[in-house]
C-alpha cells in the first residue's frame, strides 16, 4: 500500500491543515489555562466538558503529523463533535435560551455567568464554539485535500 500512496510533499496542503488544527487547539488550551490558572477565573462545568474535548487534540495531533497520517482526523472527529455540541449548549445557556436549573455551590460556578467579553460579543464560550467550528471545517478540508492514489 505504501508505495501506491503519493509522496508526502504532494500532501503538504493537508499536512498544513492538520498542523493548523493543532495550532488552534494548542492556542485554545493555552488561553483557557491562562484564564483559569493565571487570571483565576472560575471554570464552570460546561467549560470542563469543552476542555475534555479540546486538550487531547494537543497531544493526539502530533502523532498524526509525525509521520503524517491522515487517519488522525478519524480519531479527533468525535472529540471535536462533542466539544462543538458542548460549546453550542454553553452559548445557548449564556444567551438565556436554555435555562440553568440548579444553582451550583460555592466552589461551583453558574455557567450562565460571563466574566470576560471581547468586541462586545466574543465571550469565552463563544470563542470555544468558534474554535470547534473552525477545527471542524479544517478537518473536512484536510480530508478533501488529501490525495490517496488508489490502485
Amino acid at each position: 500500500m505504501h508505495s501506491t500512496e503519493k509522496p508526502l510533499s504532494d500532501n503538504r496542503k493537508s499536512w498544513l491543515l492538520l498542523f493548523f488544527i493543532w495550532v488552534l487547539a494548542t492556542s485554545g488550551t493555552a488561553i483557557s489555562l491562562f484564564f483559569s490558572e493565571i487570571v483565576q477565573l472560575p471554570v464552570c462545568v460546561l467549560c470542563w466538558y469543552q476542555r475534555i474535548a479540546l486538550y487531547p487534540l494537543v497531544l493526539m495531533l502530533p502523532l498524526g503529523l509525525f509521520p503524517f497520517d491522515i487517519n488522525a482526523v478519524r480519531y479527533i472527529t468525535p472529540l471535536v463533535i462533542f466539544g462543538w455540541l458542548a460549546a453550542l449548549f454553553h452559548v445557548l445557556v449564556v444567551a438565556g435560551f436554555i435555562p440553568e436549573s440548579a444553582q451550583p455551590c460555592v466552589q461551583g460556578v453558574p455557567c450562565s455567568e460571563i466574566h470576560f467579553t471581547l468586541l462586545g460579543f466574543l465571550n469565552i464560550p463563544m470563542m470555544s464554539l468558534l474554535t470547534f467550528t473552525i477545527i471542524g471545517l479544517l478537518i473536512v478540508m484536510a480530508k478533501k485535500s488529501f490525495i490517496r492514489k488508489s490502485t
Binding site: W15, F19, W22, V23, T26, S27, A30, L33, F34, I38, V39, Q40, P42, P62, L65, F66, F68, A102, Q103, P104, C105, V106, Q107, G108, V109, E113, H115
Partner: protein, 213 residues
C-alpha cells in the same frame, strides 16, 4: 522550512507567549483594592468582633448558605484568639445563593437585637437543615434563628422592614464594587485575598499585623 522545524518553532512560540502573558499579568496584578473602591469595604454598624482597638481588620463577604464560609468560621475565631486585640472581623452580606437574600435579612434583624453572632453560628452549625442543593430555605432558617433568646415579633417585623432591606442592598452593591464573585471573599486592611486558602489568609493577616504593629 521543513515540517518538524515549523512544528517546534510554533510550539515554542505558543509557550513563550504563554509565559510572557503570565509575566505581564502578574506584574500588573494589584495587591490592594483601588482607592476609589475602599469605602465599599466599610459599612457603619456591620457586625464586628475581635479587638476594639484592633489595627488589622478582616472584612469577610459571606453567605450563610455557603459551605466554605461555614468551614472558615472557626478559623477566623482562631485568628481573633491568636492575635488577641490586634485583629477584628467585619461580616458583610453577599447572598449569592438562591433564597439567601431573605436569610441575611433575618441575620441583620437578629443583629439589631444584638444576636448576630449566635444567629450566624446557629445557621452555620445547622446548614444542612435549611440549605438544600445549594438553595436556601428562609422558612427553615427563620425557625432556627427563633430558637435564640430574642424578641420574635420584633424579628419578624424587622427582617421584612425597609431599613434592613436597605442595609442588605448596600452590602450587595459594595460586593459588586469590590468584585466579590464568590464567598467567602476576604479583605485584610484593604488587601484582597487573591489566592484563596486558609494558609494564604493567615499570611495576609500576619503581614498586616507586622505592618501595623
Amino acid at each position: 522550512m521543513n515540517n518538524k522545524t515549523l512544528f517546534i518553532s510554533v510550539a515554542a512560540l505558543i509557550g513563550i507567549i504563554f509565559i510572557g502573558a503570565t509575566a505581564v499579568y502578574k506584574s500588573q496584578q494589584t495587591t490592594s483594592v483601588a482607592s476609589e473602591s475602599l469605602p465599599a469595604l466599610e459599612r457603619i454598624g456591620a457586625p464586628v468582633k475581635g479587638g476594639n482597638q484592633a489595627k488589622v481588620t478582616i472584612v469577610e463577604f459571606f453567605d450563610p448558605a455557603c459551605g466554605t464560609c461555614r468551614q472558615f468560621y472557626p478559623l477566623l475565631n482562631n485568628l481573633i484568639k491568636k492575635y488577641q486585640g490586634k485583629v477584628n472581623v467585619v461580616m458583610r452580606y453577599a447572598p449569592l445563593h438562591q433564597g439567601s437574600e431573605d436569610v441575611v435579612k433575618m441575620l441583620e434583624a437578629a443583629h439589631l437585637q444584638g444576636q448576630f453572632w449566635p444567629a450566624v453560628e446557629l445557621l452555620f452549625a445547622n446548614q444542612q437543615r435549611w440549605v438544600e442543593h445549594h438553595v436556601s430555605n428562609p422558612t427553615h432558617a427563620l425557625a432556627g434563628i427563633k430558637t435564640l433568646p430574642l424578641d420574635q415579633a420584633q424579628l419578624d417585623k424587622d427582617w421584612q422592614s425597609n431599613k434592613v432591606a436597605t442595609i442588605i442592598a448596600q452590602d450587595i452593591q459594595d460586593g459588586k464594587t469590590l468584585k466579590v464573585r464568590a464567598t467567602p471573599q476576604f479583605f485584610v486592611n484593604g488587601k484582597p485575598l487573591i489566592i484563596f486558602g486558609y494558609d494564604e489568609l493567615v499570611k495576609l493577616v500576619e503581614e498586616a499585623i507586622a505592618e501595623a504593629y
